[in-house]
């Protein structure tokens, strides 16, 4: 699974010691120690990824006997071919893309609107609106009532079962609200004098100034929808509606359960460790590829609202 790693933030630390200026001995020692520690972190972070990639190119027998570490053994591409010709994998992959895009769009629209409203200090009933949102951070209806609700609304087996119940993440909402509060009130007043409506102000003045926070939110939402599996697992009744995360989870659990808990004979069909590895690589790849490009915004975005002027 993809996790947001903190190295992105560390990267941004200003480069120490401009060339030509003598640095103190203590500082150089610190640099060395710092580098060593950070290299250690990098190794620890990278090892599992490299290992999975190596596994994905290795033969199943080598993996099972624990011989694959950083370099593939029994190099082959047949597993990639096998997984990539599996129709169910692509169906579920497409589902993931569709769910992620739809859910992220819905979430962005709703979160932005809600946050913008909440950022207006003179709004009557603002406290209540904030309270309603924050309440859900601490209390939820519970699994079964939620299930009954979604089912009765007829959302089951559709993308809305995934997009609507998770449309607003309160944490993201509060970050966005803080950002909007930080924008100069005068800009909006000027826009109003120039004849812009509320929505016009939001669309033409506020949002163009909020690219950093928007990119961050898109990233937050997209990664969480891409990685999420439970909602889909709960509300989808057919395997061709599942996202690829459920497919992957089932693949891995199938392989571990079947051999360790004494399943009935028909179930003792283990899935090759190499197939698991390939599926993991293919599932994580898009996020890994997109990440560096969004990271720029992300780094400036996460600290938003941390210091408020």
């Amino acid at each position: 699974m993809v996790t947001l790693d903190t190295s992105a933030i560390i990267d941004k630390t200003p480069p120490p010691a401009a060339t030509g200026i003598r640095t103190s001995r203590g500082y150089r020692v610190f640099q060395v120690v710092n580098t060593v520690i950070l290299l250690g972190v990098v190794v620890v972070t990278l090892y599992p990824i490299v290992n999975i990639v190596a596994r994905s190119f290795s033969g199943d027998g080598y993996i099972r006997s624990g011989k694959v570490n950083l370099w593939p053994r029994g190099f082959n591409l047949t597993t990639y071919k096998a997984v990539m010709t599996n129709a169910m994998f692509w169906t579920d992959y497409r589902n993931t893309v569709v769910y992620t895009v739809v859910a992220t769009v819905v979430a962005m629209v709703l979160t932005t609107c809600y946050a913008y409203v909440l950022s207006k200090k003179d709004l009557r009933g603002r406290g209540v609106l904030v309270g309603v949102a924050v309440f859900t951070m601490f209390f939820s209806g519970g699994l079964i009532p939620n299930y009954v609700l979604v089912t009765t609304l007829g959302l089951k087996n559709s993308v809305w079962a995934i997009a609507l119940p998770n449309a607003i993440s309160v944490f993201n909402l509060l970050v966005m609200k803080a950002f909007f509060e930080g924008l100069p009130q005068e800009l909006e007043e000027a826009a109003a004098i120039d004849g812009l409506s509320t929505y016009g102000t939001l669309w033409r003045v506020v949002l163009p100034l909020s690219k950093a926070v928007l990119a961050t939110m898109v990233l937050f939402y997209a990664v969480s929808f891409w990685n999420s599996w439970f909602t889909a697992f709960l509300y989808m009744d057919h395997s061709d509606l599942m996202p690829v995360t459920v497919y992957l989870r089932n693949l891995i659990a199938g392989a571990t359960n079947a051999t360790s808990v004494g399943f009935s004979e028909a179930d003792a069909t283990a899935v090759g460790a190499n197939i698991q590895a390939v599926t993991i690589v293919l599932t994580t790849l898009p996020i890994l590829v997109v990440y560096p490009f969004v990271q720029r915004y992300f780094v400036s975005g996460v600290t938003l609202g941390a210091v408020k002027g």
């Binding site: 027998g61 080598y62 099972r64 006997s65 624990g66 011989k67 169910m88 699994l143 079964i144 299930y147 009954v148 089912t151 697992f233 709960l234 009744d237 057919h238 395997s239 599942m242 459920v246 497919y247 989870r249 089932n250 693949l251 891995i252 659990a253 199938g254 392989a255 359960n257 079947a258 051999t259 360790s260 004494g262 399943f263 009935s264 004979e265 028909a266 179930d267 003792a268 069909t269 283990a270 899935v271």
Partner: protein, 557 residues
């Protein structure tokens, strides 16, 4: 009389009144057959008038039933499986599956049962897993309707399974899961041993625990630098397979490891006793401790991952490891073939201990729950007949496992099954292009399990059949009597069960690894009391006494 049954039926509709309903119907069913709350006249649509053992079930008009389906990644569900179409052709029943990934099957099952959204059929339910749903009233007490299941009753009677089936009874005297039935106890787990090393050292295949001990000693003498035995299946239960095997050989109920249960029935005193405090359990610990102390058994056996253990075995660093039929063929042999082409590894017959040539185990397999709301369907009788045919008739079981004759399999005059040329299953036909389960939907864990020993062994290799022949010859011990708990007891039980079990397993490990001397055995026994061991036992024995007196009462009437 009829009024009473109508009322209890109506009441049973209110799911929230579940608990009250159980009480009511429980009372009304204690009497004779005529009080079973079973006026089925409105539920006979599409059912066969006469359906008995040997009859092919076919609904009188096409009908659709919903079912939960545990989706195995080894053979993900496909809507064009021959299983679905052929089933509809033979029985007029179309099954509409709600497909749930195997990884989280239990989760979704609880949610949709809790939400009242469950399909009619809920397969892959292991005995005991139904207990949490009983009080909710969402699950049908199938024991009230076994009259509709001629094949099921036939197999229970023919194979003398009543004792096994009684173990799924709930406190109301009914059961809520239709278990899969095995003709005989099926032993799959034992040890894999390097027979080429045995030959090198001039040793016989070990038959008893002492033989095994001696063989390990001889291996150690020849290879002093390594542990002759290292074991797997240690997570989450340390010594899962090994202690189960050892414990059963010493006569400690279902053994330690996976088989461990806090209470074991003692036939002599007609009472349940604490397994962890039994002399037989102590003997098991003693034996395993000796293996560790003599450096015959790798102490890491109880903590390492399966992969680590497998790697040691397949690289030739150890010679004995726990196995089942699948792992022998899928893991050990291919792994060893790469490192040592001369290596031979076979399944050792389960070593015999002081308990003698016996085997213990339930002959129940995972089974089927049926939604309570199915009872109100006009097709209820047809549903039950369908279930009986598919899961319990010989034809249904052959169909679910082997498929369609001349399409997926052929059968010779002696009744032996053979896959057709282009169909493979568990490597029986390795060159075939299609898979019996993935491409056709047969031998699917949701629908194909249990059955006669002949059917079970029909997919086994010759080698595995020989192993099974040895195990079949051993005497099957009777199953312990049931001790159904009521709801209050169940809660209390749950509070005591896990801590007690954890403590026993923890201390078992300490004794085995030599971190605790055996001289402390008596203090260990008294520590069990501190973990509510005595209360735990009196709870179970109380439930057992209640069961006995109820049973005697109903036998007399």
């Amino acid at each position: 009389m009829n009024n009473i049954s109508r009322r209890s039926m109506l009441l049973s509709l209110g799911a929230t009144l579940g608990a009250a309903t159980l009480g009511l119907t429980g009372c009304s069913s204690d009497g004779g057959d005529d009080k079973k709350g079973s006026d089925l006249s409105k539920n006979r649509a599409d059912a066969m008038d006469k359906f008995g053992v040997g009859d092919q079930f076919k609904a009188t008009s096409p009908v659709t039933f919903t079912t939960l389906l545990n989706d195995n990644p080894g053979y993900p569900e496909k809507s064009n499986w021959l299983f679905w179409t052929e089933l509809a052709k033979r029985t007029n029943v179309t099954l509409k599956p709600t497909v749930v990934p195997l990884s989280d099957y239990e989760n979704k099952r609880s949610v949709i049962i809790g939400a009242g959204d469950a399909p009619f059929l809920i397969p892959k339910t292991y005995p005991g897993q139904e207990a949490p749903f009983v009080a909710s009233g969402a699950i049908l007490a199938v024991s009230d309707y076994v009259d509709l299941l001629p094949n099921y009753r036939d197999k229970v009677a023919k194979w003398n399974l009543q004792g096994d089936v009684d173990t799924v009874l709930q406190d109301d005297g009914k059961y809520y899961v239709l278990p899969g039935l095995h003709q005989d106890v099926w032993i799959d787990y034992t040890f894999a041993i390097r027979s080429d090393i045995l030959d090198q050292l001039g040793l016989q295949m070990p038959k008893t625990l002492d033989d095994l001990h001696n063989a390990l000693k001889a291996m150690k003498a020849a290879h002093p630098d390594r542990y002759p035995m290292t074991d797997r299946w240690s997570q989450p239960t340390p010594g899962g397979a090994m202690l189960q095997t050892f414990g059963q050989a010493f006569g400690a109920g279902y053994g330690g490891g996976w088989g461990y249960a806090n209470a074991t029935y003692d036939g002599g005193s007609d009472k349940f006793v604490l397994t962890g405090a039994m002399d037989q359990y102590k003997a098991m610990i003693d034996y395993t401790r000796t293996l560790v102390a003599e450096k015959l058994l790798d102490p890491e056996s109880f903590t390492q991952s399966d992969d680590q253990a497998n790697a040691k075995f397949t690289s030739g660093k150890s010679f004995v490891i726990s196995t089942n039929a699948q792992e022998l063929v899928n893991t050990y042999r291919p792994g060893l073939a790469k490192t040592d082409p001369n290596a031979k590894v076979v399944k050792m017959p389960v070593p015999v201990g002081p308990a003698g040539e016996v085997k213990v185990g339930l002959r129940l397999e995972n089974g089927l729950m049926i939604s309570k709301k199915a009872r109100d369907s006009k097709d209820f009788v047809a549903l039950m007949q369908f279930v009986d045919w598919l899961f319990y008739s010989d034809e249904g079981q052959i169909f679910a496992k082997w498929g369609v004759e001349n399409v997926t399999y052929t059968r010779d005059a002696a009744g032996n099954f053979k896959l057709t040329k282009d169909v493979d299953y568990v490597g029986l036909n390795p060159t075939a292009s299609k898979k019996l389960n993935a491409d056709f939907g047969f031998s699917n864990g949701n629908f194909a399990y249990g059955g006669s020993t002949q059917l079970l062994e029909s997919t086994f290799s010759e080698e595995e059949k020989q192993f099974q022949a040895i195990m079949t010859a051993r005497k099957t011990l009777p199953v312990p009597p049931p001790h159904p708990l009521n709801a209050d007891e169940q809660e209390q039980f749950a509070l005591w069960e896990a801590p007690l079990k954890d403590y026993v397993q923890q201390q078992t490990l300490k004794f085995i690894l030599g971190e605790r001397p055996m001289s402390q055995w008596d203090s260990f026994k008294s520590e069990l009391k501190g973990k509510n061991g005595d209360q735990y036992l009196s709870l179970i024995n109380g439930a057992y006494d209640r069961y006995k007196s109820k049973k005697n009462g109903s036998d007399k009437s």
